[in-house]
Amino acid sequence: MTYLPNILFIAALATAIAVFARKAGRIRKNIGLGKDTDRSDRPSDRLQNMLRVAFGQSKMQARPVAGALHFIVYVSFLIINIEVLEIIVDGIFGTHRAFAPFLGKAYAPIISAFEVLAVLTVIAVLIFWWRRNVSKLDRFHKPEMKGWAFTDANNILYIELVLMFAFLNMNALEANFSDAHHSFLISQYIAPLWSGASEWGLHFGERLFWWVHILGIFAFLNYLPYSKHFHIILAFPNTYYANLEAKGRFENNATVTKEVAMMMDPTADPFAAPAADTDAPIERFGAKDANDLSWANLLNAYTCTECGRCTSECPANLTGKKLSPRKIMMDTRDRIEEIGVNIAANGSFVDDGRSLLGDYITNEELWACTSCNACVQACPVDIDPLNIIMKLRNFATMEESSAPGALNAMMTNVENNGAPWPFNQMDRANWINE
């Protein structure tokens, strides 16, 4: 019987990891549904970008209040994980504070520092909650933030509060033990609240909070893949695989390059038999559905934590248009999830008559973009909504000819007379003599 807690703990740990791995594997598979794109170049620049943007939080600090609060929660998360490691060791081996003997005199100051971080985290989380629910920051209350998106955001704050509460009270109860060895900076002030409890009650309470804390962490781990909060993991690969080129550089379509080269080659035989690989599926220009996008676009979508900095900087959104870069990312993620479920249920994708462009993102949103890159600049984890918008426009224009009429007229002009307006090419140099 004395080994029962150890066995229960190991079972809980193994289950938490297995269930998480399964879901994470599905997300990885969904990301893999995207088209290939080469992001293997410049590994050292990529690593630096990841260290600066994800690890160093450089772009978060563009907004100092949210940046500072987020930094507290982030540092606290990283450091308190050391404490979690001790809890896992204790849980497996049935020890109590396994690290204490090794750290000796340093143990109490270290745990005290964790407690300070825990308190700062509670404060930060409460301010976050206030900004979302009471002062109602505009960017948290856009149309795409209704329903699950809003609930999800609050759930995370509540989970964090519960975890910090359990951690501090676990230490506070222990401080009341008749044979207490440890007293820590913050929990010593919480300890008197529990001083009336019996010795048995203290021990029971300490174990209870210990279990609440660690099972809470396991639950949190498994909540992540269903939540926007998955960014705590994906921010790292996402910044590593970010676009490092100039933001103004839009990729050139290689298939089109081949076609244009053939058209401009006077020796090309227009009646030549097509190449042997005609069995290959005809490639679609641009993107109609989420799986027409690249895996980097899909990784972006799963990384998005819906903070809305992109949308709050978007000139179209600022002037009341329907376009919201955050919604572009949320739609992409929701659609690729839907495709993933479809594949899991049917073995391979069965046409469901739905698509990213049309059922999720409307033409009205698509054509409101000014391609100004404000959303890309604003994203603290290097997500690029503009790249998705441009691929959807490629499809709309080249496959469906559904660009707004005025743009079709502009393109006809470019085609006929080399300028977006109906002026004669031969009048191009008239300004010299005017």
Binding site: A62, E245, A246, K247, G248, R249, F250, N252, N253, V256, T257, V260, M264, F285, G286, E313, P315, A316, L318, T319, G320, K321, K322, L323, W367, A368, T370, S371, C372, N373, A374, Q377, M390, L392, R393, N394, A396, T397, M398, A403, P404, A406, L407, M410, M411, V414, E415, G418, A419, P420, W421, F423, Q425, R428, A429, N430, W431, I432, N433, E434
Partner: protein, 262 residues
């Protein structure tokens, strides 16, 4: 009418000469009445510095930027290939342009298609000439004038150039008042992504009106832009408030041409 000869690359090549730099005028610079003034100001500066330059004239065609941003990759690459054939045919090495859209496309999207040139926006080019002592600016007429600078998206965020235009303005001894949203956070004028050529979607305000208001809130007498499209949008925004008598919208090139009384 320009009082001096603007050489075309065809003429120069026929004379067996190769210019140091090709001035890429762009569609707006060639056809838009307001933008043509920017083109002329730039030509005056080039002439004044005595630098050897040329334009393509009737051999220039749209870079394809508006087509690409409207989703028409095919038309974009057709334009690109035609231009690259002309540019490579003349063995062009160095290009300067007053349009950030042409600048971005030539600089970033042409190399992969076979067009490799040293491309500069006129703010970068003129700033370099200043540093090399080939252009001298006395800030007399603008001394102490309150101005603000609007960062064009395709120069700023798209290509991370924020300092060159400001360095030029500094030489003019103006009093630069930055807008709340500037540099990396600059608000778009509303013309990019082919919006210049269509009506905006339904909303609560026009982007260019909002941006012009932000520019005027600084108390600036002159709003400086570095893009013919931003110029048009902001001019329209100033007119929207009926402030065109108090607030001017000028290009960097026009500022320098005026300061030098060219």
């Amino acid at each position: 009418m320009t009082t001096f000869q603007v050489p075309t690359l065809a003429q120069m090549t026929a004379e067996g000469k190769a210019p140091e730099v090709l001035f890429w005028v762009g569609c707006a610079g060639s056809f838009d009445d307001r933008a043509k003034k920017i083109t002329k100001a730039m030509a005056k500066i080039l002439h004044h510095t005595g630098i050897s330059y040329a334009v393509l004239g009737t051999e220039e065609g749209c870079t394809g930027d508006p087509a690409k941003r409207a989703g028409n990759e095919f038309l974009f690459q057709m334009q690109a290939m035609m231009n690259i054939q002309v540019l490579n045919g003349y063995e062009v090495k160095h290009i300067v342009t007053t349009c950030p859209h042409c600048f971005n496309t030539l600089k970033n999207e042409y190399p992969e298609l076979g067009g490799n040139y040293h491309v500069e926006h006129h703010s970068q080019f003129l700033n370099r000439l200043l540093k090399e002592g080939r252009l001298k600016i006395e800030g007399g007429s603008f001394k102490g004038k309150k101005i603000t600078f609007h960062d064009p998206c395709y120069l700023g965020r798209a290509n991370d150039e924020y300092e060159a235009p400001r360095a030029l303005l500094e030489k003019l001894d103006v009093s630069l008042k930055e807008m709340r949203r500037c540099k990396q956070n600059g608000l778009c004028c509303g013309a990019g992504g082919s919006q210049m050529f269509k009506e905006a979607e339904k909303g609560t305000a026009e982007i260019n009106h909002v941006r012009a208001d932000e520019a005027m809130e600084t108390g600036a007498e002159i709003v400086v832009a570095g893009c013919p499209f931003c110029n048009t949008m902001l001019t329209d925004g100033v007119k929207n408030r009926e402030k065109e008598d108090q607030v001017q919208v000028l290009d960097l090139a026009e500022m320098i041409a005026l300061a030098e009384d060219l």
